[in-house]
């Protein structure tokens, strides 16, 4: 009889349908189409051409370099991010707000500036340039520079995803562990870490996705040497500039796939952990 009763706090089904349609349209236009364009362009000349572009020597070198950079960057930011989150969430000290601001600062710094600052410091004309050159140490235009720029850009990801959760969980469990005689490290390892592991993983995955995809910052410090200092995004640019569009998009598609796998892993983890996390940003 009143099966169609609609509680006052719910919207009309027609209205909801419009919302759903609009949301899907927005997502399709803004999110799906660009990605689809990448894959369509990659396969325009057929799968073999796309695969050839990926297994080509310089592409492989770029893939390797990208993975190496990510493999160094992510653990560095993991350790730093967890330390920062712990300090901010579980301890009191003066200047805490300043520290939080500092941690979030790289989000609002242009990637180009992120590259620039390392040129200012480590470039041959920079603060440490002469000293480094005298010792024949190459920082920018080599792996260390790429890692530094990437660490800078991905710096806040782990801290930002873990910190709110740690704050929300408060200190009771840590205090309980302390009364039970646990050392700081034991407390962290056995009490805090298990509580935040999903958020932590999700932060790590985001950090990884961004580290692999960073373009602006590494572009400034890379030197663009084929097979040597080209990461995947830079290699995409190079191929694109050589009018090898299919190849460029093939490498781009591979990058996008790596990112998608990362995101899929993240959402599976979130589902496993049963808590939707707002790990954006």
């Amino acid at each position: 009889m009143s099966a169609r009763f609609r509680p006052a706090h719910a919207d009309a089904p027609a209205f909801n349908a419009v919302l759903i349609g609009a949301a899907l349209a927005v997502a399709f236009m803004l999110l799906v189409l660009p990605l689809a364009a990448v894959f369509v362009e990659a396969l325009r000349r057929g799968l073999p051409v796309a695969l050839d572009a990926i297994v080509e020597e310089d592409s492989l070198a770029a893939i390797r370099l990208t993975l190496v950079v990510a493999a160094i960057t992510v653990p560095l930011n993991l350790v730093g991010g967890v330390a920062a989150a712990w300090a901010v969430a579980k301890c009191d000290f003066p200047g805490k707000r300043l520290l939080v601001t500092l941690i979030e600062l790289p989000f609002s710094v242009s990637p180009v500036i992120a590259g620039l600052v390392f040129v200012l410091i480590f470039g041959a004309q920079g603060w440490l340039g002469g000293w480094l050159q005298a010792r024949d140490i190459q920082v920018i235009f080599a792996l260390p520079g790429l890692v530094l720029a990437t660490v800078f850009v991905t710096f806040p990801f782990v801290a930002r995803t873990v910190m709110p959760l740690m704050q929300e969980q408060g200190r009771e469990e840590e205090e309980a562990a302390a009364t039970l005689g646990a050392t700081g490290f034991q407390t962290f390892w056995r009490v805090t870490l298990p509580n935040v592991k999903w958020a932590l993983l999700s932060g790590v995955l985001l950090c990884n996705a961004r580290a692999m995809g960073e373009f602006g910052a590494v572009s400034v410090v890379s030197g663009h040497i084929r097979g040597e200092t080209n990461t995947m995004p830079l290699h995409v640019e190079i191929l694109y500039n050589e009018y090898q569009f299919a190849g460029a998009f093939a490498v781009a598609a591979l990058l996008a796939l790596l990112g998608l796998v990362t995101l899929a892993a993240k959402s599976i983890l979130e589902r496993l952990s049963g808590r939707p996390s707002g790990g954006a940003a």
Partner: protein, 341 residues
């Protein structure tokens, strides 16, 4: 995760550190396999890919040393900046003498670099031509046609692209030569020209993509060699080259980066590398990739591919690159003035 967790970050850290070391954070002066790094500008990719292989073969035959030549490409200015900032280039092959001068100013290259190799250290030349759409629908034959109101011109940004500076100077030179031409009329004409530019990419390659792939504009001001490459790469876009009667002699310059080769012990290979560009094989490769060779006989043999044009030079018409750069392209120069509203 807990049972494995502890080791993961640590292991990765150690792995990272090893990779860092292995990758050459600290580069030994003498590597097992000798490498040369040629830092070049955008349109030379195809030429140097071929020349590098040829030179490595020659070098091994001559000295028995295995050699790998790496190249880095990008906007000429950016590339020069990278070398100044410490990119370990053994040789630079850039679009303009000015960019090499900039490196020389910082002491990495001897100031007299231009005199060290024949032809002002420019082993090949090029010029600026027009690339238009099939059938030349807007009937663009010469520089004057660019100013027709319905013509949209694609060129890269002279601030960031060496080729674009050649475009700009060629047009300026043409405007000066018109009846009643003066700096003032040239500036007015150039101002009008850039009003008709819808997209200013940072480099020649980006611009060509915009023109050919995105179908923007009616004419693309292009390096001669790029124009030929574009005919092949964008066959489906249907492009044609138009040779104006008049253009500019572009002399892409090359130099050994003294500061780097002396430290790396690669001077011999680097000098041989540049000299090889003047040798018959190098000249032939340049011609093959549509750079005008210096070798008169070779140029004559390729006369059909390199039509004769009236060409001005930067030195004669603009008092050299330093002056042209200062007057036109530096911050507050003519280019800034004409693009300001």
């Amino acid at each position: 995760m807990p049972p494995h967790g502890p080791a993961t970050p640590r292991r990765a850290l150690i792995g990272g550190a090893l990779a860092l070391a292995a990758h050459g954070a600290i580069r030994p002066a003498s590597a097992q396999q000798a490498t040369l790094l040629n830092v070049s500008y955008d349109p030379t990719r195809e030429l140097y890919r071929e020349y590098n292989a040829a030179f490595a073969r020659q070098w091994q035959a001559r000295t028995g040393q295995a050699l790998r030549v790496n190249t880095s490409h990008g906007g000429s200015g950016r590339q020069a900046r990278s070398v100044i900032d410490g990119l370990q280039a053994d040789v630079v092959t850039l679009a303009l003498a000015y960019d090499i001068d900039a490196i020389a100013e910082r002491g990495l290259i001897a100031r007299n670099w231009m005199a060290r190799l024949p032809f002002n250290s420019a082993p090949y030349t090029s010029t600026i031509v027009f690339l238009v759409r099939r059938g030349n629908p807007k009937a663009i034959r010469d520089w004057g046609d660019l100013l027709k109101p319905d013509v949209r011109i694609i060129t890269p940004n002279p601030k960031t692209s060496g080729g674009a500076r050649w475009n700009y100077l060629a047009f300026w030179g043409w405007a000066l030569r018109q009846p009643g031409g003066s700096a003032a009329t040239a500036e007015a004409a150039t101002r009008q020209l850039f009003r008709q530019v819808p997209v200013l990419d940072t480099g020649a390659r980006g611009s060509l993509t915009t023109f050919a792939q995105r179908a923007q504009g009616d004419v693309f001001l292009s390096w001669e060699n790029e124009a030929h490459l574009a005919l092949e790469e964008f066959r489906e876009a249907g492009l044609e080259i138009v040779y104006p009667r008049f253009s500019i002699l572009a002399e892409p310059s090359v130099a050994v980066v003294d500061g780097n080769v002396d430290r790396r012990g690669t001077r011999a290979a680097a000098e041989a590398y540049l000299q090889g560009l003047y040798a018959p094989e190098g000249q032939a490769l340049a011609a093959k990739h549509f750079y005008r060779p210096r070798d008169a006989a070779l140029l004559a043999a390729n006369a059909a591919r390199f039509p004769r044009m009236e060409l001005i030079t930067v030195d004669d018409s603009f008092g050299g690159w330093a002056e042209a750069q200062r007057l036109h392209f530096n911050d507050g120069g003519v280019f800034d003035r004409i693009t300001a509203r």
